[in-house]
Amino acid sequence: MVVYTGVLPVKDPPMLKPVECLRANRTIDFACRPLSLHPPELVPAVARRVPARSDGGYRATKSNGATQETASQCPSELSSRAAVPYEPYMALKLMQIAPHEAEDPTELSLRQAFELLEPKLRPPFSLTIPKPQEYSLLNKAILYGVLYECHLGKTHIKHLHAIVTDGYGLFVSFLTKVVNELYVKLLEPLKCQLIWVTKELIDVLAVGVDGLLVCLLRQIVGGDFSDGNLWLCFEMVNILLTKWDCLLEVESMILTSGLYTYLRLLADHCRQLSNPKLEALKQLEIDFCIKVLKEQFPLCLKIGRDLVRLLQDLVHLPKFRAIWKDLVLNQGEFKSLGFSGIAQLYITRTPSQYMLLRITPEMEAQLRFLLTHVKLGSHKRHQAWFAKKFLCEPNRETVIVDIVRFICCAHHPPNEIIQSDVIPRWAVIGWLLKSCTKNYVEANAKLALLYDWLFFEERVDNIMNIEPAMLLMVYSIPRYIDITHTLLEFLFLLMDNYDAEHYDILVKGVSSSFSVCVKKGVIRSLDVLTSCDALSPILKERLGRFLLGTKFEISGKLIQARLPGHFERVKNSTCMETPTPSPESMR
């Protein structure tokens, strides 16, 4: 007997088999499943009360796909194969639960509601209007039924349509909770159900369905090329394209969230050369992104400066190159839409909810825990666990870029934490930079860290976004002086080369960043850098000249630079292996 506990590879990429099968045939149809194995839980209600292993593991024979435990199999057939003693009543499980793992409270609450109300979930349905308490339970029970009783999905949805009195708000909130808390461990065929019911909810313009879609987008793991993950990429981009009009009506922000997600995913997907199963998906992702950019550009402007950061990584694709050119030169369709030029994007700070899009809820919870409860000095084990889980597998490293952006822009600890002995943000970012093994990931991570420096404007920007880079530079002296070097060098490199046409904006941004960090007391004075013996003389000189040149004022007095002169570019820089495509190079 083989107990199936994890995701198994399938030869046939499931993403190439859209879930149309689910809609076409609501009887048990395993063609839609992302996996080749399926749990006995999926047998219809009549066979369902077959006892199963108490540990929640489920069965598959060793022969290749020979165990289709379908409706045709009666309970006795199922149990006759069993080699382990059975419990009298089978626990109805939504999730893959390993031995010795406690049941999830969210799953438990849904299951209890289902078990309690099961007789009411069969037609003919009651016509009485439920009381609020009953309504909540009924919503939970129907949700459990939709997910669990795959073959009765349509019946349960009809029931939901009949009883709903709150615009589906409660149902969507329960479903969102399932996605956030259970998705990773959800049995694979149930993930198909999840996508199917999500589409149903879009069709009825359910309250909060936009939030549900955002949560599903967050479950797509960057740099994960497993079949299950690519299947979700496919399903989500498919939803965004096919439900376009509905989504525009519900909440147009979901399209820009989709754009942010897929621009970022495309960068990863395009680095995977010679992966034939990605081709169809990549094409869909490109089509979707181009459609949003061309048809809903005014919405895209709301993403702000990170839109430029993401687009840059894709200029090697012809379709994006054309868009980039139009953007930079402010010509073609963009001009007529009231777009005043790329600077308009630069000066718009990207709302922090976009930074959450590329971090899974589980990753977010662990990062926030690390930055709230783990003390500096006893943080190494937590860091090692985090790295093992999220960074170590091949290609996963690119998520470091998203994590750096998340820490800078979306995790702003209160003063009590900043003043405590909890590991500070700059230290975590230092560790992440040191964890990069690929040069392009490191370059992008440094760009993510310093990005807000380039456009910083005191009135609209938040000092917390630039604080980690400042502190990392300063606190890396003298032990990790290489970090100070590489960051300062990279900062000047960006300022000089990121967008030569808008050099004035960049100089102003960097200058304001330094000045605000001193003014607000992030660091006491820049002397720590300008008179640091360990810092290379060339960089010190450059910094001194820069601060003088911008009439930079610290504590009321002008810095006296040793050398007058004009700005010079840092030559022979080795810190940036992947050149940042500057708008100039596009012309």
Binding site: A98, P99, H100, E101, A102, A365, Q366, F369, H373, V374, K375, S378, K380, R381, H382, W385, F386, K388, K389
Partner: protein
Amino acid sequence: MVALKDIVPAAQNNIDTRFILLDKASMNTSSSQGQNKTCLALVADETAAVHFQLWGEECDAFEPGDIIHLSNGIFSYSRNSLLLRAGKRGKIEKVGEFTMAYVETPNMSEIRWVPDPNSSHKYIQEAVISPHSRIFPPKY
């Protein structure tokens, strides 16, 4: 639910607690069939650390970083070393991952306990043998 700093050696299966698994030693198989496989682990909560003995399939089911709920556990001597374990009547379950702070000192297994002069059934702390685990010395 008891904090690890408050556990006392006793011949009773009555410890309910929650901790995070920090480290696992290599497995120790005491019978040829591997049925009595055990594995020593370092576990801790916000107040203390202790050596925990994983038994049988528990050895493979838990990994460092797992948050574990122990019910009806026992803290007692086994071949001269003081260990917390589920025992035959107790149970351990994984209830989470990562999100638990911990300390590595004191280590309750590295304390010398003596019978309480006032109450012969009880043990009291006599001395600290080592502030940290000597089997799992602080790594970082």
